[in-house]
Each structure stands twice: as C-alpha cells, then as structure tokens.
Amino acid sequence: MTGAATELPWMWVGLFAYGVATLLAFRNVWQAGGDNAVVLLAGRQGERTILLAIVTGVLLLAWALAVRWDRLGHGPFINLFELLMSQLFSLGLIYSIVYWRVPNLRASAVVVLPLIWILGSWILFLEPADSQFPPTYHNNWLWAHVGFGKVFLSFSLVAAGLAGVILLRAIPRLGRSFAQMSDEALDQLAWRFMMLALVFDSLMLIAGAVWAQDAWGRYWSWDALETSAFMTWLAIGAGIHVRLSYNIPIRIGALVIIAVFFLAFTTYFGAPFYSEAAHKGVV
C-alpha cells in the first residue's frame, strides 16, 4: 500500500504547467499595457494558451492524486502535503471552468495564478510523507464537507482575483491592460463570487458539523479550524452586509474581499501552524 512517492513527477509537471500559465498571464497584461495596437488580438490568443496550460496542469495534478490515492488506499485528506496537492488541483479545476465560461474575469488570472502558485511553491518544500486514514474519516459527510470547502475557497479566490485587478488598475501601465471592464462591473462580479462563496462556506460548515457529530460526538468544539472557519464565515457575512447596506468605495470593497480571502486562506493552511491536529480527534 505504501512505497516511493511515485506521484511526485506528475505533480512537478503539473506545477510547471501552472507556472507557464502564470508567466503567460503576466506577459498578456504587460503587452496589453503597451502601445501596440494589435495586443487585443494577441490577448485573445494568449487567453486560449493560458486556459490550455491551466487545464494541462489540472489533468497532471489529477493523475498525481490518483497515483497517490492508489498507493496509499485513501484520498488526500490527512497531512498538509495532501491538502495542498488536492487544493492545487481543485483551485485550478474550478478556476479553469470559470475562466472558460466567464470571459470577463480572465484578467484576474494575473492575480489568481500567482496566488495558486504560493501553494505550488509551498508544496515543493514539503516531505510527501505517507498518511494513515483515521477510522472517523469513513464517512460520506467528509466528502460533502471537503467538496463544499473546495468550491468555497475557489470562489473566494476568484473574488480576490477580481478585487486584485481593481487595485492593480491604480498602476498606469496596468490600468490600460485591464481597460475592458469598468470598476463597477468588476466590483459587482467580485461580490457576486463572494456571495456564492458564502453559500458554499455555509454548506461546508453544515456538512462539517454533521460529520463532527458522527465522528467525535459533538457538532462544534471551537478547535483551531472550527474557530477560524467561523470567523471567516462571519467576515464574509459582515463584508456582504457592509457592501449592501453602505455605499463603500470600490477600492475599500476590494480590500475587504482580499482580507476575507486571506482569512479563508489561513483557515485552510494556517491552522497546522498553531494547532497540533487540525480537528480535535483527528488522530
């Protein structure tokens, strides 16, 4: 069931594909900001290449996950290496679908892909240690919890990407490259993704509570992840509340979205630094 980490080469190639997509996104933005009149046509072509590179990365990471799953006999749910690997896959997958279906937000690739690459760089420094599947993880609610969580983080990432674009427009050269959409349209799209994120965050918390009740005999215990996840939910709720109730400047709204994403990010990947086990009773 265990052995050498044969999934690593596939993961590396997948990360390389993400890297190519990131560089192409930067090139697109830089060129679009220049004075060359043909950049829009080149940009269209560039977008297709970026999408192709992301999809290639997603497929390679999916294969790497499958190889590891087959080797260990369980899904990527336990240690930080597995969590990062599965997030790299799911963030790439959902972003590629959104990138493909919603052309308006393609400019966000220049923010989203480097954020994904933070995880990509991080995983390169981790030992691909084998993990043991706890008995309480044989539960269908775990799948629902993890699935909703991945969609939630992906939509937060898209919103953060759009918020990042709003802020990057302050730089004159970059301002020209993001000129297709108004600040208002970007702001509206970003908050719409935050609203979707709130739905999936709520579903993640509900599924997690049902799983925790079955697994550990309590639905809420204020452990590291639960506390941080609840604060994130409150932050999204408060952010949307402020956005709908008060006329806040668009750039302040963008900063709020980025702050909420940062909170969500630390919920997923910060908990291991201040808690021995992400969830109580996990071992």
Binding site: P103, T136, Q180, M181, M195, V199, S202, Q213, G217, A224
Partner: protein, 343 residues
Amino acid sequence: MMAWMRRLASTRLTLLGMVLLAIGAGLSYGNPADVTVWVLAGPLLLLALNLLAAILTQPRINRRPGLLIFHIGLLSICVLAAIGRLTFYEARVEVSQNSAFDVTSVDEVSQGIFHMGELQQVQFVQRDYTVEYRPGLVRGITRSNVQVGDGHGGWQPKVVGDDTPLIIDGYRFYTTFNKGFAAMLTWIPEQGEAITGTLHMPSYPLFDYQQANSWTPPGSIEEIKFWLRLDTGLDRDADWLLDVHNTEAVLVVNNGEQRVELQPGQATDLLGGQLRYEALSSWMGYKIFYDPTLMWLFIAAMLTVLGLCLHYWDKFKHQSMASDVVVDKQKQDLKMTNKAIKA
C-alpha cells in the same frame, strides 16, 4: 414601540454583534475553562434581537421571500443553539462485556439546567468488540457488539463504533479510544453470599505495561492488588486485531506477602474468603451525548442556505456574469483594432 424596534433592527447593530461574536469566538478557541459562556451568548442574544427586529420592521427583508427565509433561519439557529445548551447532556461511561449499561456508572457528567434526565431508561447490553490496528499501533476501525431492547421483550444485535454511534432515546453512545480488558472475579466470603463482578484494568494498548488494579473485598480492610499478564499477540510493526477472544491472560494476585498466579477458572484462598478468577473479559468506554435540537438545527441551517440561494436567484437571474455591456465594449475594441491593422 415600532420606532424602538427599528432602532434595534439597525444594520450598525448587526455589525457590532458580528464583531463581538468574532471576538467571542476567538476567546472560545480551545474551550478554555476560565472564559465565560457569555462571550458567545451575549453577542448571539444581541444578534437574535437584531434579527427579530429586522424581520418584523424591515420591508427589504420581510417582502423578499429568500431574504426572509434566510433571516428566519439564522434566528432559528440562534434559538435552537440556546435551547441545545440548556438541555444537553454529556458524560462518559465504561461498560463491561456481557453487562447491561448502568446509569450509576456514568462519569464526567455535564448537562444543561433544563435537561430532563431520562438516561436511566436507556437499556443495552455490551458484548465483545474488536479494534483494528495498523503498523505503528495506528488505530483503525472499532466494531463494538451490543444488544438493544426491541420493545417487545427481545434483544436486537447491533454493531457500533467510530462514526456510527448507538442511539437510544436520543442519547448517542460513541465508542472511544478508552477501552481495555477486565478480570471477571467471584468472591466467596467465609460467611454470606458469593458475589461476581468485573475488575477493569487500565486502557489498552495505551497502558500496555500497567495492567494493574486493586480491590478491597466487602467487610475487609485489606486491599488486594491484581496484575493481568496479557498475551494479546500485539506486534507494533504489523497489522493487529485487539480481540478478547484472541487473548490469553494470567491473573497475578498480590495480597500482602502472598503472590498467586491464576488461570481462568482457578481460585485462591485469601483472608476472609476465596477468590476465583472466572474468565478474561473486556470493557468499552463510551462518550454519551444528548441534544434534542440536533435534527432541528440541521433543518434550520439547510433552510437558511436555501433562503440565501433563493435570494441570489431572484437577484441575479436576469444578470448574466458575461455582462452585455462589457461584451459590447470588447467587440468595439476588436473592431477598432482590426481597423488599425487594415490601416
């Protein structure tokens, strides 16, 4: 009255409640004993009042079905969580193999002030259990066999363990890592009736080398010390099954200067009576949890999300993400670019 309600429905108050709740959540991290429950209860009460006032007075909420369901759902969660804390029950218990659950054995009890206390009506009999271990003594699946009354005088066998609790009358019994072996003993006093019971040894395999306990026979002042020398086949480097049927044990009895080793079925004479080691047995430690609001909380939470989805659907169903305005602008830009190329 309405003016006062409108002030209570203020969105600023909502934000204040959220900030206080976030602070309360931070203070509650890890359930510290020195933090009062009011750091959470206070903001929740404030938010519940704020929600109620908003539902009653704000047309923006009560005239939109989705938002109304969402806010009623949130209010219901606050109320149900409060009822849950007032009526919950939590405890731990060790149940011997082939013995009925005994409510007097429960330990570490904590309960809400309005808990009605019907645990004494819970009946089940503990049978044997197995626990799988992987190399490195990593705990795997627990299968605990129990028998539950079927309500017609018969007993229904059930297998519980890990994420499958035994649920009787709303009380949920969860197996824990705390389980071990026991010695079934019979004490035959020189005068009086014989008594049979089980002596639980410390949790196994956690206290593999400390399988000892002591007992003082009724009417005696002399404590008898027991040590269970086990042969469980435990191999830390291989798969292993903890199973009382695969285990042999010698009971070592120390009574002052006297030291006797007993096989199952053997007896020894001690001061004041005879002690017989009947058989090796086991015990399972359960966590007991009761909260009558669990199902209602789930329903309220799902309704809340449903209300949110309904509201978003109403809000965005006519607004495509690929906004026409934006697409038109892109088309214009492309035309201008093409003209520039031709020129």
